[in-house]
Symmetry: C2
Subunit: 578 residues, 2 copies
């Protein structure tokens, strides 16, 4: 009885949400609003009927991980004939670009997470979620071995196995310590929600400790010395946010301590934000120096002890010991042990990261895909396939190629080897034919001349950056492939198989760079947008707000984050040790 009443009420509330959503569209930031709306229309009903009657064995897709790649894959998946099981130690998706904001309370941790089950229950097909960690992938028996990550009183066997037909590895990466001694023991990473929460607590702890009466001046300085290692976007954003937090909020609450605070940013290279345009780097470095942040470039960390961080200065060759209160380590990513094991198992022994082909399929495995930070696409080189390409083009087996011969395969070549396109653009050559002509000056060319013309092309190959944007695009690409697998099996749409016969089923994954932000604190942000367009300042901060608001995974998180920003503007950031 009562349960029913609850349900009735709950569904009333649910229906009334539709209107609220519409309201939120209006309050949402203009630019992002449209993008957001497009995200939020999963085709819920289209496959409902189809799913109803099936009694044949469904293909089982096992997804490892609920980060950007895994969640984006899951959200895109629509094929009702699939049986999906997700295994992840986290029962939520976290909007990681806002992690630095969580460290200082600009945004609440809970506002940037979305329970996976909230996403799952919108699906019209079977999805199971298991909160567990995969510790072994058994490709022979098509099984993954998992164990629960909970330690407290739950009893029963903690381990279980899951069979798969297709395996999607999206486990992300771990922080890279470069085996520097003491890093794991004494520093904070900034990869998980829990890390951000711990950092926040530690910052307040440092201020409280420094407020105690028995602390010497020297100790007080040490305790309030915050060190950030790594001048990438995360490290820079964290340092900037911390500076804002100290200046705007903590200085008011701990007025006596303001003069003791130092924030140091250590970067091993010559510049911070070195993946960005030089103008951004310059602006950021100038701003940090103006703000009083201690920026040390060319500084390699060699060791971390409980109270000191030791560096080697490249300029002088000297070893320096810096006393600190808190260190945040943000120097890039490394491969997880379970992925390393898997790589050994499948013979990828000499690589640092799991390699996939351009369709995100793990090299050497038929039914295993890998995406996001745990994998990298091993782009096929033109030079490896040069003979096959020549043969495919030379239909009549004359040993000579004419312009006409090419016309049929040109699209396949540029599709299959995107480095060709980049090379053309860089060389400012109109098209592929022109490139061959430039190389030879003749209409016909043999294999040696063909090789020569394309010899420089492969130098244009670049690994994709380990960003949320790449992972999210890979996730929806792969979901799209799964959705259309039967269709594409029959009508392949990919490029020619130059070394085999027929065509690839799908077009290869192609990353579309939409730009990157580097928040610099003080309501200023730098952005590098496609076409090398650079934008820095307060207006970019608002662009940042609107893009991030629109990219959040659900209306719930969107409303929460926007209201968090509002709270912060009105009340400042909270400094209680919670």
């Amino acid at each position: 009885m009562s349960g029913y009443r609850f349900y009735q009420k709950a569904s009333e509330v649910y229906n009334s949400r539709r209107n609220l959503y519409n309201l939120l569209v209006i309050t949402s930031v203009s630019g992002g609003g449209l993008l957001a709306f497009a995200n939020n229309n999963p085709a819920r009903t289209a496959y409902a009927d189809a799913a109803g009657g099936a009694h044949i064995r469904r293909k089982k897709v096992v997804v490892l991980g609920t980060g950007w790649a895994g969640t984006s894959f899951l959200k895109g998946l629509k094929d009702p004939s699939l049986d999906v099981e997700i295994v992840s130690p986290r029962n939520y998706f976290a909007f990681t670009p806002l992690l630095p904001s969580v460290t200082n309370g600009t945004v609440e941790a809970r506002s940037i997470v979305e329970p996976i089950r909230n996403i799952v229950r919108k699906k019209q097909f079977d999805v199971q979620f298991r909160e567990a960690e995969c510790y072994k992938i058994d490709t022979k028996n098509k099984k993954v071995h998992c164990k629960s990550t909970q330690q407290n009183n739950v009893g029963g066997s903690d381990e279980f196995t899951v069979d798969y037909d297709y395996l999607v590895i999206a486990m992300g990466a771990r922080s890279n310590t470069f085996n520097t001694p003491g890093v794991v023991e004494h520093t904070h990473f900034l990869k998980e929600i829990e890390d951000a929460q711990k950092i926040r607590k530690t910052v307040i702890d440092c201020f409280e400790k420094a407020s105690l009466p028995n602390i010497s001046e020297e100790e007080r300085k040490r305790i309030l010395h915050f060190v950030v290692v790594g001048g990438g976007p995360t490290g820079v954003e964290f340092a900037a946010e911390l500076h804002d937090f100290v200046i705007e909020d903590l200085a008011k609450l701990y007025p006596d301590l303001k003069s003791y605070v130092t924030i140091t940013l250590l970067e091993a290279g010559d510049h911070i934000l070195n993946m960005f345009d030089k103008r951004i780097t310059q602006f950021a470095e100038d701003k940090f120096r103006r703000d009083g942040l201690d920026l040390k470039v060319g500084s390699m960390v060699t060791k971390v002890t409980d109270k000191e961080i030791c560096t080697k200065e490249r300029a002088t060759g000297k070893n320096v010991s810096i006393p600190y209160g808190m260190v945040v380590w943000s120097t890039g990513i490394g491969t997880r042990p379970v992925v390393m094991d898997f790589m050994k198992q499948i013979g990828q022994t000499n690589r640092r990261v799991l390699a996939t082909d351009e369709w995100l399929r793990v090299e050497g495995c038929e039914d295993i895909y890998a995406l996001g930070d745990c994998a990298t696409i091993d782009q096929r080189k033109v030079m490896e396939d040069i003979a096959s390409i020549f043969t495919k083009a030379d239909k009549n087996n004359t040993g000579k190629l004419k312009a006409d011969d090419f016309n049929e395969v040109i699209n396949d070549i540029t599709e299959r080897y995107p480095q060709v396109v980049i090379h053309l653009k860089k060389q400012q050559v109109k098209n592929f034919l022109q490139l061959l002509k430039n190389a030879q000056g003749e209409d016909e060319l043999d294999i040696e001349k063909f090789k020569l013309a394309l010899s420089a092309v492969d130098a244009q190959m670049k690994n994709l950056p380990a960003t949320a944007q790449v992972a999210a695009q890979q996730g929806s690409y792969l979901a799209d492939c799964f959705n259309r697998m039967n269709d594409c099996e029959k009508n392949p749409e990919g490029p020619l198989r130059f070394r085999g016969s027929g065509r690839h089923r799908f077009k290869a994954f192609r990353y579309k760079h939409l730009g990157q932000f580097a928040p610099l604190g003080g309501e200023q942000t730098a952005a590098q947008l496609p076409g090398d367009w650079v934008s820095i300042g307060h207006s970019t901060q608002w662009l940042w707000y609107s893009v991030y608001a629109s990219k959040l995974v659900s209306w719930r998180t969107r409303a929460l984050v926007i209201s968090d920003w509002g709270r912060r503007f009105i009340f400042g950031r909270d400094s209680s040790k919670i």
Copy 2:
């Protein structure tokens, strides 16, 4: 330069808040709005000048604790000639009545805490806050010994001492386990913010664990069995909130598990909510049974192991073992070890709780006050002082008292011994004189007859309940005494000192009961208001919302809690393990 700019901006934001505050008054719930506004006007300026020039040694007031009593004392304190130092392991005040709401995510932990330094910085006089724990009170040297509660890399000596002129002990209590084995190791308390957060995480953990594929039916039932020990307001509210969380939110996300969930409430007595009116108890018990909560009264917990809780049923005398997934222990409070030590030191050895006089001064100590849950008021008995009272009234030393003799001291007697007033009310006697007349039927009476007339009065004495309301009223009472200490030294306003000479400086503390709520879940609340007025149902839930919103400590927390309630109505409670 840049720092200055930040400051300028910060103060602009601050000024603009005034307007926002006004806006919030409008949006705030009507009934509570007025109360709240009264809370929010500390006399900031009145003492500013007086504080300026003083170079004499200020009296040092040390406050131990930042709970209801300590914070309410601090908020009320206005005397600029005081030097205040607060020592507490928590750098925030927590609005504890909303703790059960935090366990299920109806309200965020951060929304119900206010940093003590936010309160401190509004004061016009010197207030120091130290995040530390007092582990020893040294009355001889007027010192408290403290140590930092932080464990991580902070270095330096963790211990320090603080001198005091006046000491205010407001350390609260700990959960009472009645020395039941296994309680500390295996159950959750619900006293601190961290407790509430842990409970929330454990509930989700249990659901996730129960979702794993290798769990037997029996295990699944065990894991989803939530046991609440103690049928007081906290236990009842938690059980009700948990039931709502499961029915309204988790049942949607874990549809397969709904049938496995059991919530059991164990109460040693015959009824839950036994401090409330019988109608409320009856309603609550009926509602719980209707909702499917397993209510077990007359059930004493004898032992808790990692997977079972053992009880002795009073009705049958049988010992029962109940497998559980999580136990929340909420059976009342006990005295903290440091307070026990202090009691030994000052000779209060045979008591369970620290005793104070009616002015909240610790018995046997001149300059130490204790309030809130850590202390109890030891009301002076009329019978102890009967001879002195008689003597004071019998001005002419005739050994006989007439009605005229009394008129002068009647007010002092009823002021000093409030049990007299309660007795008169219960006996339905018009006034004190009538009581004496009833006893004797004569106009004059001697000491023996006087004793007889008052013999039943002391039976009316009752200890105050250990509630936030009592602690808060004690805090503001004591602050008021401190504020007017010099005035009242000269012009005492308290009752006659019957055993000494002159008058007491202050009127004694008198608790004013404003009513008590017992939220029962499903948007229903019971309230027992002054005058034994009982109100139960949905409308009372709205009363509860408005009273709690108005009682929150700051406009910030008020806005946060109200927006949390709004979030919950719109989006439901969050179920991610954060």
